[in-house]
């Protein structure tokens, strides 16, 4: 598998894992309208993941050098990529696999990630790879909603009651250490040709920090100072949470292979 396929899988895995986690709020949201909102965001993210997986599957199947050990000679598809890989093969950022926690934690995780996706897709839109540029352009319109919605909630909770503020502070403590990884390029990311992946990780980081700072200021939340950042997710070294997520998500396909509904 080549660097580009790895990178597309990283984009897909991020969207799928966060989409799956958000979907667990379905029927449990704090109020009906926000339950509907978070599950709509799930749907968008899983849709984006499907577009990336379909494209990764096509590249993998076309590549003659592929040694994709899980597939027993079968063609790789969006479903085999989502349901039949193990946690070491998942390349998502650690941030998206962190547990839902309370509403504040889910909101903050979404806000950190949507901000990242928003600026990432803006850059990816100008890729010379037509399919990647199309997926980025399409997804960006959806992420715009996610970012606005999650930003407003960070402000509402941070500058809300004493209880909501405490919960936002606790969520920030839990999640901040997983945000650095978004901007540490892996070796395969560094090898990607600039015209195909026109992502300037330095400017991406600056824009992300600026947005977080603006919203945190408005939310009267202190911008965190923490030098230590966890990494490893993009290279398959995950926190213990991913295993549980995959066990739940992949159970049906692994128990009843090739089942459809």
């Amino acid at each position: 598998m080549n660097d580009l396929s790895y990178y597309i899988l990283q984009l897909a895995d991020d969207a799928l894992i966060l989409g799956h986690q958000n979907s667990e709020w379905c029927g449990h949201g704090p109020i009906l309208e926000q339950d509907v909102a978070i599950t709509n965001i799930s749907l968008d993210l899983i849709g984006q993941a499907r577009n990336f997986y379909q494209y990764a599957a096509k590249l993998i199947n076309e590549s003659s050098t592929t040694s994709f050990h899980l597939q027993n000679g079968l063609e790789v598809s969006e479903d085999t990529l989502a349901y039949l890989r193990d946690s070491r093969d998942f390349r998502n950022n650690l941030l998206v696999e962190q547990p839902n926690g309370d509403w504040a934690k889910t909101i903050l995780r979404q806000f950190f990630f949507s901000t990242y996706q928003y600026y990432l897709y803006q850059q990816l839109k100008s890729s010379t790879d037509n399919q990647l540029s199309a997926i980025a352009e399409k997804s960006l319109k959806e992420v715009n909603y996610h970012l606005r919605w999650s930003s407003e909630w960070v402000i509402r909770l941070g500058d809300g009651s004493e209880e909501s503020r405490q919960r936002m502070l606790a969520a920030t403590d839990d999640l901040w250490t997983y945000t650095g990884e978004l901007f540490y390029p892996t070796e395969y990311e560094q090898r990607l040709p600039g015209e195909v992946i026109p992502v300037d990780i330095k400017s991406l980081k600056l824009k992300w920090e600026e947005k977080i700072r603006t919203v945190f200021d408005e939310a009267t939340l202190p911008y965190p100072v923490n030098a230590f950042m966890q990494t490893g997710g993009k290279e398959g070294r995950h926190t213990e949470h991913l295993g549980y997520i995959l066990a739940e998500m992949q159970y049906m396909q692994r128990t009843y292979p090739n089942s459809e509904w």
Binding site: N40, L43, D44, G47, E137, K138, K141, R148, I155
Partner: protein, 167 residues
């Protein structure tokens, strides 16, 4: 019917019979998701479609309905291709589609330049109640029963309603 009588326009007119399963008054043509029809040979056809939102589950259902419709018209080789670019926008919903949405009780989308922006806590768009035509309405949630809608309520007739949000 033999397919060689069919030209592009006829195919388009048949496709107006294929409805969105979530909003059954709208056809795939009204929605603007059919981007092209390519006739190549007597019984071969390719339809290019684009999703409204990336995760919209109605797209697969609509692709299946299109396939069934075309096979009843005599096409043997039917290819349905999904394209993502240019990205779908509510500006592609036909005027007739917007009228049908309103009659069905869903407020039709405003032109897209009005709202697709980054700013936070922007005032609600002025949306007319599809039931009593009052402008005295407010947004309950930016997200609704499907990805393409948001929830509003009318302060005059007190009815909640869906707004087909601009995208």
């Amino acid at each position: 019917m033999t397919t060689h009588q069919l030209n592009k326009e006829t195919v388009y007119s048949y496709l107006t019979e294929v409805k969105d399963p979530e909003i059954p008054v709208l056809s795939v043509i009204d929605l603007g998701i059919v981007r092209d029809v390519i006739l190549s040979g007597d019984d071969e056809i390719e339809i290019i479609i684009t999703p409204t939102y990336s995760g919209c589950p109605a797209l697969d259902a609509m692709a299946t309905s299109i396939r069934i419709m075309l096979s009843t018209l005599g096409f043997k080789k039917i290819k349905i291709t999904q394209t993502l670019s240019p990205a779908w926008t509510t500006d592609w919903i036909s005027e007739e589609g917007k009228r049908k949405l309103k009659e069905y009780g869903i407020a039709p989308p405003n032109p897209s330049q009005q709202v697709c922006q980054e700013k936070l806590f922007v005032p609600n768009e002025a949306i007319q109640c599809p039931h009593c035509s009052s402008w005295h309405t407010h947004r309950v949630s930016e997200f609704g029963s499907t990805p393409c809608k948001s929830l509003y309520v009318c302060e005059d007739c007190k009815e909640p309603f869906d707004y087909f949000k601009c995208h």
